[in-house]
Amino acid sequence: MGQLLIRRLIQMLLIMLVVSALLFAIFDSDQFRRKVAVAELGGLGLATLSADDYHAWLDRRGLNQPFFVRYVAWLDQLGHGDFGQSIEKDVAVSTLLGESLSNTAVLAFFVFLIMVPVSLTLGVLAGMQEGSALDRIISFLAVFTTSIPQIATAALLTVILALGLGWVPTKSAMDDGWSFRALVLPLLTLLIYDIGYLVRMTRASMTEVMASHYIRTAVLKGLPYHRVILRHALRNALIVPVTLIFLELNGVLSQVVVVEVFFQYRGFGRMLFDAANFGDIQVLQAGTLVAVCVAVASQGLSDVAYGLINPRVRVA
């Protein structure tokens, strides 16, 4: 176990180094500098700037030095805990990162809080009696909900809940301060897709386990049904879903981009999207590294969980 973790950690650091170097190289091009200049000075402004003034502007922004110099300087900065400055928003990247990550964490917390018990329960219920009416309904709903792209779900939910019934505000920018009602729409959009996905996986795993020999043996032996389920089947059926839940951390980070942009929620996904559009390199770098970190961490946690739960795989 320990060895696995260390391997994962080394891998993560290696990947982060490679990725950050790549990003720096890509964003070092003249095309990107012009893009940032246009976003900040305005199209006309840039066009009328003389060559000297343009270089002076580049100098002020620190964009004029070659790639290696800037990369090393950035690594040094990082070592001191300074993530740099956002060009677009004029604040320290660490502040921006902290705020947006905490907002997304709140959203993710509620998503997991509701998703885990609901989907595991539904998946187990459906898988327990394969082919029954309950199973058919749950399966159909699960496939159905994972077939609707999240922007479509977001759009439909807005129409029904916000415009039609008026229970929740249409956008979640939370200008008047934090309110749970504004969180409802993004939460539901994420939940609908994620619950469906997890239910499908859980059901598949459960049906496989229920069809296995030892379960059938237990039933034939005369054990009460619910004991069979609780003692024997669940433990094995939940191996895959639980590992998937950890991987969902990574998935949520990805889904949250679209949902936050649609509902204008000030989270991590929206921050990354705005930074990509503007060409705000420091923010993009920091954000990508955090994303990579979360992804690798979720994979690592998933492996650890798998090792802990699956009795057959105890050795790292």
Binding site: A39, L41, G43, L46, A47, D53, K89, P169, A173
Partner: protein, 564 residues
């Protein structure tokens, strides 16, 4: 002001003879420094009710209530250095805090603000500005001519990189040194004695060239007056002469302004402009397309701009106030005259002839806006000369193409960036359908906005939107004069340059209009741009807001706005 301007009797005579309309007389008289009220009186009409004689603000309902918070949906930008602002929204956020020397109202008439009268010399090269007395800064200092001069000198310093140098007045306060920079552009520096302080409240500008538009230029969005102790960024130490100050700014999120009640040294702050009603003004970041939705759901009380696509939607919102105003904003489909096939004037004329300007305007704006005839001077400009409107002539267009050697038809591509909204694309597509009849295959290439700005003045055929300018000569000087910084068409005609300079040196409106006839005719004959309409500007506010009016340059003027 009691000093009579030498040109005034001439103006009066023209008014009496009926050569000049009342509206133009009022405009011209205010140009040379007469108060609006006196000008109206001389023209024989009652002035629109102004709060006081020299105040530029509209009159307010006597039942106006004090208090309340106005929330506006607009993109929230940085507030770094007002002289180098690149977005209009930044100046909107700053306008309640800092002020201008003059102010252009929604009716396109310039009014005194921090200067209360001004007088040009007869040759329009020397302008005397009188600074209003009794104007206080937030720290208790009184506004003096030295402060104003400091600001103007700052703008004319090329090292600052302010876009104000693009305005005629401030360009005329600089001269070329004769050297060239790395890009080959001529280097400038400020005139030694351009700005003179005569006494504590009088400034004199000695311009290198006769300039007509000094008062208008001082109302442009980047000419906010800051205190000489100003150090960028403004958001850290906001100090101005306006009735509000900055309480919180988060770029891309919100900007909170609070009314100033006391100066920084504890005394009471009385705003020179009289009563101010709102306690706080909040700007919340909403992108253009989502602003109407934000108002519909009650998150904001007013928005930055209502575009034509959302007009019908806005009309379905119960209680919303929708107002419109004429502007000189337009879309120029401009052709570069030094690139094939546009170097042949017959090809350009063919494109223009094959288009039906009125139909394009109807398709895109319906009953709103007004038709333009390709020479970039609008009916709301005082020196507008109405040339006979061109008629669509497909056969003529085909004939011209045939003469130019394109009998089999011509393939063209127009680039558009949709910076102001998808209506720009709709215009290009309407054009495409129309010129098809003449055998021209026009392909509409839509670029993402940022990409468009990288190539906007390099593409041979592109659609650029031009903002509102109060005088007709201003856009022409920036766009079509030889070597002008925004001359995207590379148009260069010495006759045109001469005619334009002559028009710009003429204060007398009737004479200027005649001179503009020549200017407009030259542009129309050269057929370098297809400009089909003048855009209407709409404003949208909820039923609780009073006094919120649209402005042709999208300047949000909030001093006398109140809420029920």
């Amino acid at each position: 002001m009691s000093i009579a301007h030498p040109l005034l009797p001439g103006l009066c005579e023209q008014l009496e003879r009926g050569v000049m309309s009342r509206r133009e007389f009022i405009r011209c008289a205010t140009l040379i420094g007469m108060t609006a009220r006196t000008a109206h009186a001389m023209a024989g009409s009652t002035a629109p009710a102004m709060a006081a004689e020299t105040l530029p603000f509209p009159a307010v309902d006597p039942g106006a209530k004090h208090g309340g918070i106005l929330r506006i949906g607009q993109m929230v930008g940085k507030m770094h250095d007002p002289a180098t602002y690149s977005w209009n929204e930044m100046s909107n956020q700053t306008r309640p805090i800092l002020e201008y020397l003059t102010m252009i109202g929604p009716d396109n008439v310039v009014r005194p603000m921090l200067v209360d009268w001004w007088q040009p010399s007869a040759d329009l090269r020397t302008w005397t500005l009188h600074v209003r007395s009794g104007v206080k800064w937030h720290n208790g200092d009184e506004l003096t001519a030295e402060h104003v001069a400091w600001n103007i000198r700052r703008w004319t310093d090329p090292a600052l990189g302010s876009s104000n140098l693009g305005l005629s007045t401030f360009a005329a306060l600089t001269e070329f040194t004769g050297g060239r920079d790395a890009k080959g552009k001529a280097v400038r520096r400020a005139l030694k004695n351009g700005v003179e302080v005569l006494d504590s409240h009088t400034v004199r500008l000695n311009l290198a060239r006769p300039t007509l538009s000094v008062a208008e230029d001082c109302a442009e969005y980047c000419t906010l007056i800051v205190h000489p102790s100003f150090v960028a960024p403004l958001s850290h130490q906001p100090m101005g002469t306006g009735p509000y100050t900055l309480a919180d700014l988060r770029v891309g999120e919100r900007c909170i302004l609070k009314r100033v009640t006391h100066t920084t040294d504890g005394r009471e702050f009385r705003y020179w402009g009289g009563d101010v009603y709102l306690d706080e003004i909040h700007f919340y970041n909403y992108e253009q397309e989502y602003q109407t939705a934000a108002l519909a759901s009650g998150s904001v009380d007013a928005i930055y701009e209502l575009t034509i696509e959302q007009l019908e939607l806005a009309q379905s919102i119960p209680g919303a106030q929708i107002l419109s105003v004429e502007s000189a904003q337009t879309l120029c489909c401009r052709m570069q005259v030094d690139v094939k096939p546009f170097d042949d004037v017959r090809v350009r004329r063919a494109v223009v002839k094959a288009a039906d300007n009125a139909r394009i305007k109807d398709l895109v704006f319906g009953a709103h806006g007004s038709v333009a005839h390709n020479y970039h001077v609008a009916p709301i400009h005082p020196e507008y000369f109405p040339l006979p409107p061109p008629v669509r002539d497909v056969a003529g267009a085909k004939q011209l193409l045939k003469e130019a050697g394109y009998e089999k038809g011509l393939d063209l591509t127009i680039c558009v960036g949709n910076n102001d909204g998808p209506w720009q694309q709709a215009v290009c597509e309407a054009l495409r359908d129309q010129v098809k009849d003449a055998g021209i295959n026009l392909k509409v290439e839509v670029l993402p906005a940022t990409k468009y700005w990288e190539v906007w003045n390099q593409v041979p055929f592109g659609a650029t939107s031009w903002a509102h300018r109060p005088l007709g000569t201003m856009a022409l000087a920036q766009a079509y004069r030889t070597g002008a910084s925004w001359n995207e068409t590379h148009f260069s005609d010495p006759k045109f340059d001469l005619a334009l300079s002559e028009a710009e040196a003429t204060l007398d409106v009737a004479e200027r209009r005649l001179k503009m006839q020549k200017v407009e005719q030259l542009l129309e004959d050269a057929a370098i741009v297809l400009q089909a309409f003048w855009r209407p500007v709409f404003s949208l506010a909820s039923s609780r807001v009073r006094g919120y009016r649209p402005h042709p340059a999208r300047q949000i003027q909030l001093t006398k706005v109140w809420m029920t």
